[in-house]
């Protein structure tokens, strides 16, 4: 199948082709790819795509080990309203 049709990140619409292009431009680690392509920054916060990206990257760089990244809170999106301190003085 054509790489431009293989969607790695559904939330931010990033294809395998774009990942390969970025890799060839020098974005060779997950953090750099994440910033460059916004992969993994959508509503699911990379839960679906980062494991796929890790695998892809291991293949592209010919490494066996898989690099992982830190997850950032919150685990799943929560509205600002939930965090308001009601009745408390500032």
């Amino acid at each position: 199948m054509n790489d431009s049709l293989i969607l790695i990140c559904r939330c931010e619409d990033v294809t395998l082709e774009e990942i390969k292009e970025a890799f060839n431009k020098g974005f060779k680690d997950i953090e750099s790819l994440r910033r460059h392509l916004n992969i993994g920054t959508g509503p699911c916060q990379g839960k679906t795509c980062i494991p796929l990206l890790e695998k892809t990257l291991a293949q592209l760089s010919g490494k066996n080990e898989i690099e992982t990244i830190s997850t950032r809170p919150p685990e799943s999106p929560v509205p600002f309203g939930v965090f308001i301190k009601r009745g408390k003085k500032e």
């Binding site: 910033r35 509503p43 965090f83 408390k88």
Partner: protein, 377 residues
Amino acid sequence: MKSFDVVIIGGGITGLSTAYYLNKMGVKNVLIIEKNYLGSGSTGRCGTGIRQQFTTKEHIVLMRESVKLWKEWENSLEHPIHFKQGGYIWLLRNNEELKQYKNYVKMQNLLGVPTQIISKEEIKEIVPEINTDDIVGASWCSTDGNAYPFEVIDALKFFVESKGTTIKTFEEVKNITLKNGLIQSVITDNDIYYTSFLVNGAGTGAKKTAKIIEIELPLENYRHQIVVSEPLEDFLNPMVVKGELYFTQTHRGRVIGGTDMNESPTDSISTSIDFLEKFATEVVKTIPQLSSIKIMRQWAGSYVVTPDHHPIIGPSEISNFILGCGYSGHGFMLGPIVGKLLASYIIDGKMFLPEADNLTIKRFKEGKLIQEKAVIG
């Protein structure tokens, strides 16, 4: 033997902007060494804000000039940096603040920055959603704005690499050698590089780096947190500031912002629920409709702070060791002008703005500190 005209420690905006101007001015044999990935320091963690509303001549003039360069970058860099002049709207909470900011506005106007004091009605015209119940007016500068840090990093990376700059990532500077009182080489965990000039753009690592050659920098790291929301329709053009709170909307539609937790210095960049509570409380008071908007991500980074909240730029006691650090929370917006000043210093032996000469490390020895009062989040 690998040798360079200029070696730069740090792949944040300071390092990349300095390389950019060196390359533009004809110096091509430049090396940037970054211990992690480009933008991994404060640059990639920052709040995107670019403003000229400051309270000292040094900051106002440097930022007035930096905004001109941001415009040039927006127009000339091939990769889009999303620089936008949406303005900064600084909400004033009482008459005392109003009086104070009227004075700042006078000073900014004298130095050529078009700030003005506006009424509650005028605030509503700019951002109708702002709750004006607990404010008396605002200080408004329409030429302030923001840009997107990782796009800036990418744009500069592509430019400097095309001009011949070498970038080494995941390589850490471990040692520096001197010969006859001048820097001779830089030793990393991987190699050794000889150089005519060394630029210290190492952010939170700047103090440690200078210490290797026994230069003491009066820097302390303070944790600052920041949060972004889910993407929304475009509704907020300016950066909104109110007390310790600041927020705006990015070009990807997300509300991004922070507030000050007034913590003691620390190297920690972990995140806290306390921050989310304080930010949410303040932001929802300012724009009540944001209450139902979902938070996507929270992270932290460091402000590298000097005793007078102004950066340390230019030459040091060792004449080929150049400093660009201690921005006290304003290093992203200052990036273009600092890069140009440092490149000029390396090439011509002088920085082209007299105000920049007041910002060298010498001021701490001579007791010539400059106090900046407008520090936020």
